[in-house]
Amino acid sequence: MTPPNLHIYVLAAPLLTAFAVNLLGRVSRAWIGPLVLGALSFSTVGALLTLQRVLQNGGYSYTVGNWQPPFGIELVVDPLSALMLLLISVVALLASCSALKSVAGELPGREHLFFTLYLILIAGLLGLVLTGDAFNLYVLLEITSITTYGLIAMGKGRASLASFNYIIMGSIGACFYLLGVGYLYILTGTLNMADIARILPGLTAPAAIATAFAFLLVGLWIKMAFFPLHLWLPNAYSLAPTGAGVMIAPLMTKVTIYLMIRVMFSIFSPDYVFVTHAGVQAAIVWAASLAILCCSALALAQRNLRRMLTYILLAEVGYMVGGVWLANGLGMTGAVLHIVNDALMTLCLFLAAAAIIYRTGSLDFDHLHGLYRRMPLTMAAFTVGAFSLIGVPPTCGFFSKWYLILGAVQAGHWEFVAALLVSSLINAVLFFRIIEIAYFKPAPETSAAAPPRSEEAPALLLTPLLLTAVALVAIGLGTGPLVENVIRLALPPGFAP
């Protein structure tokens, strides 16, 4: 029998371990690995059990310290948040294996600091998906942001400048969000999401409600780097220490998309979001299409693997925002499925990048020569990730794209269909350009006399990478059950296809 507050343990494990890592890590580096992996494994198992329970018995809520809402903080566990819990803990676990290796190389002597922030960040992300309180969400959003600023600033070179840019943009975003919450509090007198949702429909202050909604939305868009509010992201993510980028890139934007979904449907209602402001809905899908096209085009201009990946990541944000705003079940299914898939695809490619940089020291295109011969397994996994982003079946990227296109066709948003297809084609160009470099150009210092030495990445980097690559195909083939048994339940009522 599992305890009823299982999800609290999922959240508490990384949070408490963060302090242990800080203390014991000072004593000996040897403590860090077992502590981090142990805590995240614990979270993963807990998240799995939580998801299983939610799927069996339906969602439930939990009040921290038994302070009843609207005064206490309510945690809500429903299929969507349980799915996100599992996704975050799995990605964090896999990413941390790689981070342990690369941080030891890049930040010698500061590992305990790095992993303290790292674990608090993960705890913050887990908290974000659990919370049922609009102000608590703000606090957690700042916890994740501040730890992220710190992690990014630990990078080399211009990383601190990139982090500073991010601080400014991130703070503006947070202010916007907070203003939105303030409006809602004035209007409703409560911060609990469910309470707000109950009170809002009875109010007659359309302009104030709309303002609050707009502030919340724009605040989150800045945080998720939705084009054209994206300028802070490419530098921040590509200059961060490798170990930080591997975890932040897959999770941050995806969790913020989740928050957008929460704000749209848990605080406001589908009716309000899509019907009251029908023109806005169409405009946002157009904006998302534009975001996809522009970010894909910008990706073409990059000459560094990790920078290119960050622009692809931005384009994918457009996929999900557009998918949610298509306002039909298929688009929404596609968006939620893409949260899962894109987190794993991004993880796969960033893990591959981490393995490559560990061996070659650089991710500039000119340093990728001959990689297929030098690191065959890494490149095989990279290729799977690339195919998934291009959208080749049976990798999972194809199926979320399938739902998104289907939703767009059904909604008659042909510009979104076109944007998705063009972006797939551009992804094909982007990745085959790299594949060409790695496949055709001979490795630099191979002398004919010495047989080509295997330069495969060490097991700690390679194992999570290969697991992720396998997961991309497995999830692709399991799309049917995943949509049927999990994602359908996670959609707002009335939207399940």
């Binding site: 080749v392 079946p393 296109i405 066709v409 059904q410 084609l425 094909a428 049917g480 059950p481 049927e484």
Partner: protein
């Protein structure tokens, strides 16, 4: 038509996919590695052949692999049409495997392990296309084939291969993502299914304009069928080693394109719907233009493989043309030509490779008098050419006969004219090669003539396929039976 659930179709696909692993692992032992290839090839043919009696008896096999989208599982189904294609492809893979060994070893090609492994994946994808039960499954294997053949096309890894590889992907991947994927999604959103159904699934679901648009998207989207103007990748792909050109660009890849188009015509649109909307015209016009233009371009090519490539482009459109006639005889001819052309063209490519292995000559203008030194190769070349021209007693005659019959049935004398003109052009670009080989060039003194053929590993497969072309004229029964079942709705 009753389908029984069975693992056989999966085994037939999977055997070569799994063989890729031992092939990769035994890269230090070439003989062992090639044994795996041959084992998988023979095994695959046996597995396909084992399903033949059931299919001929009107049965079939089905296997659902995964539920991915509501109403569209990843599903394999063996019916007459799939069996027809799988039989031809798996038989010719055996010949190609033997030939590859001779070709690659004689030329001491690099990276043979990668070559054989990619080949194994490519043939698995080909059979997957043949056995796909719905459009999504077909698309899955279609893309798998595109990607598995990329390392084969670019095998030489030089600048030319790089450019060709880029062209290859641009056409094939660009068309499939840019055209087939949206067409498929629209079809699904109109009908809620993508199953290949006798009589089609689109009837009455959309306006004629939408249907015409979908048809065009499919025709050009399956760029492997090389209907002009999406044919440019095929001549470029000739940079690959000859066995790749022979099997993939004579049989597997290009026929997968045609097969996909025919599946869409038969199973998604349905001939009746196309006839009602008069859309057959769209198909036949595009195909006719391609046939004539490609044949004319072929005349101008001096590089033997490029001439064969343009010939292939023209011949592929024969098959599309036959289906587009929408008459029983025309569709019979179109389907049959998949097999007949496969045997003829693979023979010609094998010969081109054998000539290259034995003499390192690529250009037709250098080949004067070569036939006297390579009588077997040139004899096979003659048979292959005659089959493609459509002369009895060779297999090509049967398919062309049906095509002509179909054109007459459809009362389209223009098409008859196109077919006859093209036959003349085929003769005009093939027969001079044979003539130059045997009769042109300086005559050596009777005793000074040295026979210098390619190694037996090359020679035996090309003899087998050439003789098979003859055999198919006399014994086309099994193939004809499968075609009849396909058209009867099996």
């Amino acid at each position: 038509m009753s389908y029984q659930s069975s693992m056989l179709p999966l085994a037939a696909i999977g055997i070569s996919l799994l063989a890729a692993f031992p092939i990769l692992l035994s890269h230090r032992k070439p003989n062992l590695r090639e044994s795996w290839t041959l084992l998988a090839a023979v095994g695959k043919f046996c597995l396909v052949a084992a399903m033949l009696p059931t299919v001929l008896a009107g049965g079939g096999f089905v296997l659902t692999l995964a539920e991915v989208v509501p109403g569209v599982p990843i599903q394999l189904r063996v019916d007459a049409m799939g069996m027809f294609f799988a039989l031809v492809a798996s038989f010719l893979w055996i010949c190609t495997s033997v030939y590859s060994i001779g070709y690659m070893r004689t030329l001491k090609e690099n990276d043979q392990t990668r070559y054989f492994a990619s080949f194994a994946v490519a043939i698995a994808a080909t059979i997957g296309v043949a056995f796909a039960a719905n459009l999504l499954t077909l698309y899955l294997f279609y893309e798998m084939l595109s990607l598995a053949t990329y390392p084969l096309v670019t095998h030489e890894q030089n600048a030319e291969a790089r450019v060709s590889g880029r062209k290859y992907l641009t056409f094939i991947l660009g068309a499939s993502i840019g055209l087939v994927l949206p067409a498929m999604v629209i079809t699904y959103s109109l009908t809620g299914t993508l199953d290949f159904t006798v009589g089609g699934i689109l009837a009455g679901k959309a306006s004629p304009a939408t249907l015409a648009l979908l048809l065009v998207l499919f025709l050009f989207g399956f760029a492997k069928a090389a209907i002009m103007p999406v044919h440019g990748w095929l001549p470029a792909a000739m940079v690959a080693p000859t066995p790749v050109s022979a099997f993939l660009h004579g049989v597997a890849v290009v026929k997968v394109g045609v097969f996909s188009i025919l599946r869409v015509i038969f199973g998604i649109f349905g001939p009746d719907l196309l006839r009602d909307l008069n859309l057959g015209m769209v198909i036949t016009t595009l195909a006719s233009v391609t046939i004539l233009a490609a044949s004319l371009v072929a005349l101008t090519q001096d590089n033997l493989k490029r001439r064969l490539a343009y010939s292939t482009i023209g011949q592929l459109s024969y098959m599309v043309l036959g289906a587009g006639m929408l008459t029983a005889a025309g569709m019979t001819g179109g389907l049959l030509h998949i097999a007949m052309h496969a045997f003829g063209k693979i023979t010609l490519f094998f010969c081109a490779g054998a000539i290259y292995v034995a003499s390192h000559k690529k250009y037709i203008s250098e080949m004067d008098g070569l036939g006297r030194r390579m009588p077997v190769t040139y004899g096979a070349f003659l048979l292959g050419s005659l089959s493609i021209i459509g002369m009895p007693p060779l297999g090509g005659f049967i398919s062309k006969w049906h095509l002509l019959l179909g054109a007459i049935e459809a009362h389209q004398m223009v098409l008859v004219l196109v077919l006859l003109t093209s036959s003349l052009l085929n003769a005009a670009y093939f027969l001079p090669i044979v003539y130059r080989g045997f009769f042109a060039g300086p005559q050596e003194a009777g005793t000074g003539l040295r026979i210098k053929e390619a190694p037996l590993f090359c020679l035996i497969p090309l003899t087998v396929t050439a003789l098979a072309s003859v055999g198919l004229f006399f014994y086309p029964d099994v193939l004809l039976q499968l075609v009849r079942q396909t058209l009867a709705g099996g």
